[in-house]
């Protein structure tokens, strides 16, 4: 696996995958895609990078423990759901910015993205390095 080609190309592949995952996340509202798939693609990117350059490098680039991303995602999804309190409507009611471009569902989907990305990355990295960096 540790060929020169793979090691050289992996960062580029990973970067492209991350970018692609964000596109998939954002276009999910109208076309196939969404937070869940986007998160899986981003996690794959982390896996690819980890195979090529080592798990420590991935952890350093992520800056935070991957499971913290998942926690952030759950908090984000829950918090945007709670915005409905301000308008006196039930929990998780979809609220929209003027012009229908973005709203609670979009922010919620970003939360899903983070949860899937964080959890899968945490599991993959922990398996790759034998739980050393947990």
């Amino acid at each position: 696996m540790n060929t020169l080609i793979f090691r050289t190309m992996a960062p580029l592949i990973a970067a492209a995958m991350i970018l692609f995952s964000i596109v998939i996340l954002l276009r999910g509202h109208n076309d196939p895609g969404g937070g869940f798939i986007g998160g899986l693609i981003a996690a794959s990117a982390a896996a690819v990078y980890g195979m090529a350059r080592g798990v420590g490098e991935v952890r350093r680039l992520l800056r935070f423990n991957p499971i913290a991303f998942a926690g952030f995602g759950v908090v984000l999804a829950g918090t945007v759901g709670l915005l409905s309190i301000l308008y006196g409507v039930p929990f998780m009611t979809a609220l929209w910015l003027p012009g229908y471009a973005f709203g609670v569902p979009g922010a919620f989907d970003i939360g899903v993205y983070f949860v899937v990305f964080g959890t899968m990355t945490a599991i993959i990295l922990a398996l790759e390095d034998g739980g050393e960096g947990v």
Partner: protein, 823 residues
């Protein structure tokens, strides 16, 4: 839901304010630790202002309540469930609330001095205030749900108070025992409350009391009665649940004074009194309450004679007094209600005072043993006066409130039938036993020659004696204010218990033609006689009933509730303890231990059977159960799906299906594990293509990513587990697992075929397709359902995903730690 009896209508804003005021002890509890750390003794006095202010605020409502205008306060809690946080200040709850705040204020003051050098004094006062808030909420709640919540809160906070000296095993045991026993009662209360709501259709207690539906729906009455009685009996330590109360004496003395005079244990009496208009008057009610109350009264009274520790003596008399109250509630009627009211106030005042006096004696001499104490009247003069006032009230001497309570009791019993005579005998005997204790705690430590004590006796300071002194004076004040006591406090309370207005006839006028006076005289005579012959009687009791006093008790006390032992761990220590106890007589207290041991042993056995630690077997059992669950309905209803027909189909469709089939075959035939994992990936890829071909791009997309990551993760797991590359299973296991796989696959396929052949209800799909752009502003229906229509489900799912991730990390970390230990 309009109240059916007259009440004062209050505006919403005032309600919120007033409810906040009623719950202010909770806020004070939050501040207490910081205040005590920085404020010293002054902080205690400052915190005592909270209950004191509440007491004064409650006093302002006395006149209105006595005039038949209860105060109702309510704010919406969960309007969708018709739940309101409603409170009611009527005669019953007012007297309880006054006792809770009035006695509570002096308990806080007392505690600041009693625990002045304790490092957790702030925490202690915080617990005390929390308990006070819970207790206030309990008696003032007019909603069954509120009542239940505060009831449980009192259990939890009393657990904290009893176990305050958590470094002593006996304190922890007492706390756990109290929590478990009263917790069982809490469950019964919840069941009773839910049943009441089901029958009467309202959560509001004051509406309930006037609802005739309960009696009409005959089946429910015994159940409601049973649940409420169990709740009240556990909380109020009625026989056979009495055993937790003496063990709760492990708490610091101010806690005992508070919990066992007017609060915690009286909550059961309160519940029965509150439910009286609804439940009382039936033969079941009378039989249950009178019999258990009478047993408890005599049990506690006799047990008190055997004790020599002042606190234990008082604890046993508390049990007896609770039995007395329950018995009176069982008898029912106006006079009995009046007696309950008078006895509650009298008992709260004298019992709180006596416990506090015990604390002063303990503090001032270093011992609470009544056989060691004597002649303290000269050094502890103020304490002696307090003890005398309280003891005489307990004994029931005329100018004190205890006398009036006793007269009311006897008046309530003067019915003349056979059971009335039995009740009179029981009550006279019980009151005489209580009178003996009143005499003993007033005379033994203070009169006679001065005895040597662990340290030279000294009087308590002002903060210590002010409480008992005022309680004693309040008992005496009835002499000058018999009509305010009767008309403003006791008669309204009795009215709430009886369910209709009750006139006060409290007074000191003596009618020698009536029975009560003569019964009082008999009681006094009996009490003095028993006191005279106490040593002989104690010896006689000890001879007939094997004593549990002395070493055995202390040995048992020293042992906490059994620890949870891991399965297989030797229980030698427990066996040893048990063999020691085998020689002692069986008591209810020991029965509790046996029940706890039995519970732990049963849990251990259960765990050993179902949690054996063999992963393979878990998987086999889980999959076998799944297959059974899937196939059974089809088989039981003989509803097998018809065979599908495979006509037509484009060549690429067949190609993809063939690819999936080849993948599966490869999984089985693969020579190495890695090959099998990759073959599984091929199969998954084919499934993703099938989704694609049949028009589910989102699903295909997700399936593709999941398959990719599955291969990566499975490969990683395989390397991490250091499995051999080949599968070493013997043929029997292969056959078993193969059969299981076929069974699962077959049953899932059958179920899916059956589902597809059923009639399809397209209403939801049509709704989503129609409205997805219109109201959710999205064209991808799958995504819109996930993040908008079914957003709450998704929120739950992502929480599960995260939790699963954390669990996986924990497992991997544990493995690493084991490796580190091995290395």
């Amino acid at each position: 839901m309009a109240p059916t009896n007259p009440g004062v209508a209050l505006t919403l804003n005032f309600d919120i304010f007033a409810i906040a005021l009623l719950l202010s002890p909770f806020a004070a509890a939050l501040l207490a630790p910081a205040m005590c750390r920085h404020g010293g003794v002054a902080a205690g006095w400052g915190l005592a202002l909270v209950p004191a202010a509440l007491f004064v605020a409650l006093l302002t409502t006395v006149e209105g309540v006595a005039a038949g205008r209860p105060v109702r306060l309510a704010i919406d809690w969960v309007p969708a469930l018709d739940l309101r946080l409603s409170f009611l200040i009527d005669g019953l709850s007012l007297v309880f609330a006054l006792a809770i705040t009035g006695i509570g204020a002096f308990i806080v003051i007392y505690s600041t001095s009693y625990l002045h050098d304790h490092r957790h004094r702030g925490r202690f006062i915080a617990f005390l205030l929390l308990f006070m808030g819970a207790m206030l909420g309990l008696v003032l709640s007019d909603s069954l749900v509120g009542l239940f919540v505060f009831w449980e809160l009192t259990s939890v906070t009393s657990f904290l108070l009893i176990g305050f000296d958590h470094e002593r095993e006996a304190a922890r045991r007492g706390a756990i025992q109290a929590l478990i026993v009263t917790g069982i009662g809490g469950l019964a209360l919840m069941a009773g409350g839910v049943l009441l709501h089901h029958v009467a259709g309202t959560w509001t207690i004051s509406d309930l009391a006037y609802s005739p539906t309960l009696r009409e729906a005959g089946w429910s009455y015994p159940w409601v009665l049973g649940f409420i009685v169990v709740a009240a009996f556990t909380k109020s330590a009625q026989w056979p649940f009495h055993f937790w109360l003496p063990n709760a004496m492990e708490a610091p003395t101010p806690v005992s004074a508070y919990l066992h005079s007017a609060t915690m244990v009286q909550a059961g009496v309160y519940l029965l009194a509150r439910m009286s208009p609804l439940l009382a008057g039936t033969p079941q009610w009378q039989a249950l309450l009178c019999s258990f109350g009478a047993i408890t009264l005599l049990w506690g009274g006799v047990a008190a004679l055997r004790q020599t520790d002042l606190k234990q003596i008082l604890a046993q008399t508390t049990i007896a007094s609770l039995g007395l109250s329950v018995m009176l509630l069982g008898i029912g009627g106006e006079t009995a209600a009046m007696a309950v009211a008078a006895y509650f106030v009298a008992h709260a005042l004298y019992k709180a005072a006596l416990f506090l006096v015990t604390g002063i004696i303990d503090h001032g001499t270093g011992t609470r043993d009544i056989t060691v104490l004597g002649g303290l009247r000269d050094t502890l003069t103020i304490t002696f006066i307090c003890a005398a006032l309280a003891g005489l009230s307990m004994f029931g001497i005329p100018p004190l409130l205890g006398y009036l309570a006793k007269e009311e009791m006897y008046a309530a019993l003067s019915t003349g039938d056979a059971w009335g005579i039995v009740a009179i005998v029981v009550m006279v005997l019980g009151n005489a036993l209580l009178g003996v204790v009143g005499l003993a705690v007033m005379i033994r430590p203070f009169m006679g020659p001065l005895r040597p004590t662990p340290h030279a006796p000294h009087e308590g300071d002002f903060a210590l004696w002010i409480g008992p002194a005022l309680f004693g004076l309040a008992s005496l004040a009835v002499l000058f204010a018999v009509s305010p006591y009767g008309e403003l406090l006791l008669a309204p309370m009795a009215s709430s218990i009886a369910g209709h207005p009750v006139e006060s006839h409290l007074g000191f006028a003596v009618d020698f033609g009536a029975l009560p006076v003569w019964l009082s005289l008999v009681t006094w005579g009996l009490a003095i006689a028993i006191y005279w012959q106490r040593d002989w009687i104690r010896a006689a009791i000890a001879k007939t009933v094997p004593s549990r006093a002395g070493k055995l008790v202390s040995r048992r006390r020293a042992r906490a509730v059994p620890r949870a032992t891991a399965p297989g761990e030797p229980e030698v220590e427990a066996e040893l303890d048990r063999s020691v106890e085998e020689r002692a007589v069986w008591t209810w207290d020991r029965g509790f231990d046996q029940a706890m041991f039995g519970l732990i042993r049963a849990a251990g056995g259960w765990t050993r059977v179902f949690h054996h630690g063999r992963l393979e077997l878990y998987v086999v059992v889980a999959f076998a159960c799944l297959a059974i669950v899937l196939v059974t309905p089809l088989w039981a209803m003989n509803d097998w799906p018809a065979l599908p027909h495979f006509a037509g189909g484009a060549f690429y469709e067949w190609g993809v299906i063939a690819m999936a089939a080849i993948g599966v075959v490869m999984v089985v035939l693969a020579p190495s594990r890695l090959g099998a994992i990759i073959a599984l990936g091929v199969q998954g890829l084919a499934v993703a293509l099938i989704f694609m071909v049949f028009g589910a791009p989102d699903l295909a997309f997700t399936q593709l990513m999941v398959e990719t990551l599955s291969v990566v993760i499975l490969a990683l797991v395989m390397t991490r587990l250091r499995l051999s590359t080949r599968d070493p299973r013997p043929y029997e296991d292969l056959a078993r697992d193969g059969l299981l796989a076929l069974l699962i696959g077959g049953s899932v396929s059958l179920l899916l075929l059956r589902v597809l052949q059923g009639a399809f209800d397209g209403r939801l799909s049509e709704f989503f397709a129609r409205t997805s752009v219109e109201i959710a502003h999205g064209h991808n229906i799958v995504n819109v359902i996930l993040v908008d229509y079914r957003g709450l489900d998704t929120l739950g799912e992502i929480s599960v995903v995260m939790t699963a991730g954390i669990a996986v990390l924990a497992l991997l970390r544990r493995q690493r730690k084991r490796k580190a230990v091995a290395a």
